[in-house]
Symmetry: C2
Subunit: 179 residues, 2 copies
Amino acid sequence: MAARRYDPERRQRIIDAAIRVVGAKGLAGLSHRTVAAEADVPLGSTTYHFKTLDELMVAALRQANEGFAKVIAARGALEDPGADLAGELAGLMGEWLAGDRTGVELEYELYLAALRRPALRPVAAEWVQDLAEPLARRTDPVTARALVALVDGICLQVLLTGASYDEGYAREVLGRVIG
Amino acid sequence: MAARRYDPERRQRIIDAAIRVVGAKGLAGLSHRTVAAEADVPLGSTTYHFKTLDELMVAALRQANEGFAKVIAARGALEDPGADLAGELAGLMGEWLAGDRTGVELEYELYLAALRRPALRPVAAEWVQDLAEPLARRTDPVTARALVALVDGICLQVLLTGASYDEGYAREVLGRVIG
DNA sequence: CATCGATGCGTACACTCGTACACATGGGAT
DNA sequence: ATCCCATGTGTACGAGTGTACGCATCGATG
């Protein structure tokens, strides 16, 4: 089942290139040709590994999700029953939104693309699930889903309107949802 | 200052056509040519009235915002100090998400496009403002902004993951933020 | 060793796009 | 009455797109 030929990691390199392209030029700048150029592979190679752009987006979004899941896991505080959950969440958001926003923008751009691309919906659901699951362990499933919704809403307000992120505000309102 | 010649409402017809195009084919299907065809005007006419597609999107999003603002105003219950605010908001969301979702999808697709198009950000901010303002009168500015964030987050979760809308759940968590 | 199929590669086609431009027209200002 | 210019129209160009297809190349299977 190992890769067949010269370039066993071709597929992975293409996904990485796609992520870089979306990060740099936006989802609108994603095409078979742009990823091919970025990954330094011929055009035919990208169309071979991913028949359609949707397929490539699914792979890219899934990989981005995994990246964020790792960040969450690394900051293990969501698991600590003694910690201030609202504060931890607000801190996590601050970490995402601070400095270089390429990562968050990429994540949300792919996430939001699910609005028009049903193929991405299951992966979008995974994103919600990945964040909701640890939260549910600290609270309950209903509260967890609401927290995810509020996190998304706050992040989007910052990203879309150009407002600056106010961690104290986030902590306050997240706390209200937790009850 | 009245319009000059044959077709005084040309510009408005183009905006309407753009909204229909985005509703039907998504933002990706929006081009000078598609709107021109939909509005039944020559290509040159659209490029004359809107030098760039961004300009057209701004006009379309602004008009969509006004439409929603009217819906909100028509359901005057947000203003009634005696009414259950969380219930009213949840009901409003139910109305949006019920049946034909073309309107909400259009609104959010244009709204979210602001992520990559700075030209749309002021208009996205207006959308937040239009919804937050009446809410702030019933509560306070901080709570109002949080409510908008939560409304957006819940709507997006429904639209993006294909989950069904649960009005009781929405009312419950909105109530917590108000509480 | 022979074969087969997965993988890689290059090219061509038909299409859509944004943009620019040259020209037509008639309403308002003078 | 005349002129100007905002508005309307048609066409062309170069760039970029998804897709399909034929051929090359080896690893694994038998």
